[in-house]
Symmetry: none
Subunit: 206 residues, 2 copies
């Protein structure tokens, strides 16, 4: 079962791409400079000039660092160093999510959302009213969902939602979605668990 290569055969020698070496180099730079969470890296143009590479390549290096969680790149702001993750129990599992087709993740998250909605509908009624009563503004997915999440509390479903959300983002702000969100909020307010769960089905387009 071992992949022992013949001693006579030379290794293929996978060349490292420039942007990968760059990423490692920048990571070392962060370390050397003693940068901590929240600190900003120099702008791409400057960094590229100093390192003698094109901005495109440098940008890819930063993207690579971002994927690995070392930095966070914000449009119009810059590249911010990220505090190393507390590394909870989910990382291995979460890493596998990236390899799955998005449709699968969407379906899974829909199921989780439905479960959370159902739990939220069973929460204390005064809390529900305070959090979900309409205030005249159109609902957005993120806002509505934050309320539902708070009502549902922490738990396994909440953690699953966090993990899945990374790879199955919420829907856009369309009329159909707002209608669904209204129906969802309404069901949770009434304490109608079944209706709340049903409303979530297909919400993400899975």
């Amino acid at each position: 079962m071992s992949e022992e290569p013949s001693p006579r055969r030379l290794t293929p020698l996978r060349r490292e791409r420039l942007y990968e070496s760059l990423a490692a180099h920048i990571s070392d730079f962060i370390e050397a400079q003693g940068l901590v969470g929240g600190d900003r890296l120099p702008p791409e143009r400057q960094l590229a000039a100093e390192l003698g590479v094109s901005r495109a390549t440098l940008s890819r290096a930063l993207a690579s660092l971002e994927t690995r969680g070392r930095i966070e790149v914000r449009h119009g702001v810059g590249a911010l160093v990220r505090e190393p993750q507390p590394a909870g129990g989910v990382p291995t599992w979460e890493a596998g999510l990236a390899q799955r087709p998005r449709s699968e993740v969407l379906v899974a998250r829909e199921a989780v959302l439905a479960g959370l909605a159902r739990t939220a509908a069973g929460a204390d009624s005064s809390l529900r009213v305070a959090m979900l009563a309409p205030d005249g503004r159109p609902r957005t997915f993120d806002h509505t969902w934050r309320c539902v999440r708070r009502l549902a509390g922490d738990g396994l479903l909440a953690e699953l939602d966090d993990a899945l959300a990374e790879h199955a983002p919420g829907p856009g702000d369309t009329a159909g979605v707002r209608e669904r969100l209204d129906a969802l909020a309404d069901a949770v307010l009434r304490g109608d668990a079944a209706a709340a769960a049903t409303t979530c089905q297909g919400m993400l387009g899975g």
Copy 2:
């Protein structure tokens, strides 16, 4: 210390980058085309043209997929689909389940079951009939659920169900459960996804 955002505050709404959407899109494409390990993706230039993006952006999307292990990009050759990892993903996460209150796990599995039931109800109708038609014997949870799982196919939800099942076993064989199972089978047979999902709510006593 809590990062709890005020409910009054609007969502920060993190925009997704084009190359990230592209990566997800291509991942779905791989799935849709039924590509397996070793298969080659179309060349960058062609893909970029077909998708209406620049080659640079497409290349970044591919790099992202490579970082996540979905494909392997070789200079002078092309982008090759990678066989999914042996997936040591779930065990770490699974180990943590034992430490959680059972009620939490039950609620989570109910949500997963509902999602699976919904998926099963959308499966090919002839398969549904063959598998779920009544045969005179009283239904048991295990048998019914095996059928639903087969109809729903493999996927993220199925894996979650496997993991959760260890710590949240099915209900006993009572009259109430049999009634539910009949309703579930009936809904799946009719292809009524919403009803199938609703039937699962509370099935485990969560």
